[in-house]
């Protein structure tokens, strides 16, 4: 994933780089063209001045040869040679070793013809100019310098300006990240004078409001539905209890009523747990009470002692005393019993259960196999099976309570043991 700002920066930089590189030959061609044109103009100027000045001297023919030879020896970049006939002019550039400068130099040359005392002479004018490679290098250097300047400018402006422009967007994003449907809270977006962001915030506000409303309805629905079921369940229960009073009841009928009773007890339990989950989601529990977890676990184990005595399960416990947590006593009790019940319910007949509380970790382990899928384990109704009639909500409730207090519940399977660990 790339950040939005970096994404817009990159093509701009690539474009700037291309323009900078592309400008190097263009600059060179233009500079070269200007150089050559100016030099050629200058050379023709010299030629004309020379012709005029020599004419003005009106040298006698006898001294022409001597004057030309003096000129050739004193004037730099200048050679006059007597020729038979005049030839067309020639303009060229040449790189050679210059004995005077002791270096490789580039020269612009003009070869032309002039007449002195009506005799044709060939005139060569050379002017030292910057070498082509050095020119290109200089241009490239300057271009690179400008590119670096652009790069720095872009990055700086991007950081400053773009961040400022996008600031409302990042503010809204931050708010959305913070938003949690399960916590009762509304989202207040900061005011912005940018149309698109204002529209975005408006849409988000509406979306969130709709979600909150739907979530609220769903929560209320779950709670109301569970509540509404309690009374009809009570009616069914009471009718079954009454039916049992019938003196003409056969044993078979009695058994059937008992079976109906058991199923009804299960329905009631599921309903109670659903109601508990709904109420947990609706945040209907007062908190902030110091609870001695060690004592609570010990008490719950004591309640189970009677049952465990009559079973073939082996229980080992290690409870570190004095561990306190903050929360609602009832909820913590429910979380603890649900984990204990869960272990008992899913142990084989002669299984082993170990309960430990130490280092702010409450662990319940029971023997059994195979390993369970930890992804589904804490979902509602995912663990219901015909063999073990449970409400299928026990672990979902544990997780809900654990989330509420910022604890963590984890499941691991090692050495043939299902281990549930609640870190408080």
């Amino acid at each position: 994933m790339k950040k939005l700002l970096n994404r817009s920066l990159k093509p701009m930089l690539i474009y700037a780089l291309l323009v900078s590189v592309g400008s190097i030959p263009v600059y060179f061609l233009i500079i070269d063209f200007i150089w050559l044109r100016e030099l050629d103009k200058h050379h023709y100027g010299i030629k004309r001045k020379l012709e005029n000045r020599i004419d003005a001297l009106s040298l006698p023919d006898s001294t022409v040869q001597q004057t030309v030879s003096i000129l050739n020896r004193t004037e730099p970049g200048f050679t006059l040679t007597a020729v038979g006939a005049s030839r067309p002019d020639s303009l060229y550039t040449l790189i050679r070793f210059d004995p005077f400068l002791q270096d490789r130099e580039q020269f612009r040359c003009l070869v032309t013809s002039i007449r002195i005392n009506n005799r044709p002479y060939r005139l060569l004018i050379e002017t030292n100019m910057e070498e082509i490679d050095e020119t290109v290098l200089a241009i490239a250097g300057v271009s690179l310098a400008f590119f670096v300047l652009l790069l720095g400018g872009f990055v700086f402006l991007n950081r400053r300006l773009a961040r400022k422009i996008w600031q409302p967007f990042y503010a809204s994003l931050g708010q959305l990240k913070e938003f949690n449907l399960q916590r009762d809270q509304t989202v207040a977006f900061a005011k912005t004078d940018i149309l698109e962001f204002a529209e975005l915030n408006d849409s988000l506000r509406q979306l969130i409001a709709r979600n909150i409303a739907i979530y609220q309805q769903q929560k209320e629905f779950a709670e109301n539905a569970s509540h509404e079921l309690q009374t009809p369940l009570a009616v069914v229960q009471s009718k079954l209890d009454l039916l049992l009073q019938n003196e003409n009841l056969t044993a078979r009928q009695g058994e059937q009523i008992e079976l109906a009773n058991r199923a009804l007890a299960r329905v009631s339990r599921i309903n109670k747990n659903l109601l508990l989950l709904a109420r947990l989601e609706n945040q209907q529990f007062a908190d902030r009470e110091r609870v001695d977890l060690s004592q609570l676990v010990t008490d719950q184990l004591e309640l189970l002692a009677d049952f465990l005595e009559n079973s073939q399960l082996t229980l080992t416990t290690a409870i570190q005393p004095g561990i306190e947590v903050e929360g609602n006593r009832l909820l913590i009790e429910i979380a603890v019993t649900n984990l204990l019940f869960n272990a008992i319910r899913h142990s084989p007949e002669t299984g082993k259960i170990s309960v430990r509380l130490a280092n702010r970790q409450f662990t319940v382990a029971n023997s059994g196999s195979p390993a369970l899928n930890p992804d589904n384990l804490f979902k509602r109704f995912s663990t219901v099976s015909a063999k073990t009639p449970s409400s299928g909500l026990g672990l979902a409730i544990v997780r809900e309570i654990s989330n509420r207090y910022g604890w963590s519940i984890t499941y691991t399977f090692t050495d043939g043991q299902h281990i549930f660990a609640l870190a408080v």
Binding site: H227, E228, Q230, T231, L233, A234, V235, V236, Q237, S238, K239, L240, D241, L242, L244, Q245, L249, T250, A251, R252, Q253, G254, E255, I257, E258, N261, R262, L264, A265, R266, S268, R269, K272, L275, R279, Q284, F285, A286, L303, L304, D306, F307, N310, L330, T337, F341, I344, R345, P389, S390, S391
Partner: protein, 224 residues
Amino acid sequence: MKILIIEDERELAQSITEYLSGENYRCETATSYEQALEKVGLYHYDCILLDLMLPGGDGLKILAELKRQNRQEGVIIISAKSSFEDKITGLQIGADDYLAKPFHLPELAARIYSVIRRRNFGNANTLIQNGLEIDLLAKTVTVNQSPVFLTRKEFDLLLYFLGNKNRVISKSALAEHLSGDLADLLDNHDFVYAHIKNLKKKLSEAGAGTFLKTVYGTGYKWEG
């Protein structure tokens, strides 16, 4: 004993009436807030069963009104709301007990029995039934001057049966009473059988074993 059932679900009120009538209970029913206030204003009862969600008003207000008048009726809240706070509030205002729906009728009967017993006998803590002398405070039982040593659970069961005399009680109801949520763990209700067998044995040895009967296939019954 007069009992007022304040419950808007007529079928449930009907079941309770039918279950409680026969022994020495006389039941009346109120199905709305106004009707309940009217009955409470006109008559006195030994025990009032109070549903909290009533057409026309909140049941807790009736309870508050009873307490304002300093009335002596025992009040048992029977509510579809099983929330802990409601229970606390109800008990704080002055209800004697709180029973969440759905419940077994024998459980309700046992609680009514307990509430009336506490109200009517004041500080007297001895109960004499079918030759059994039960000390409620010390939780001891004596038959013909000789003590019967019962466990806490057995003593509890005995009172439960006495509150449901001549009624067949299902194993489910007993299991739920004895173990609450734990009943959910137990695939069979054998532990109910174990407790009752022990209670029966102890009572028989003391010469009072004839009252507790097993009704084949259905449950148990205290005849007396």
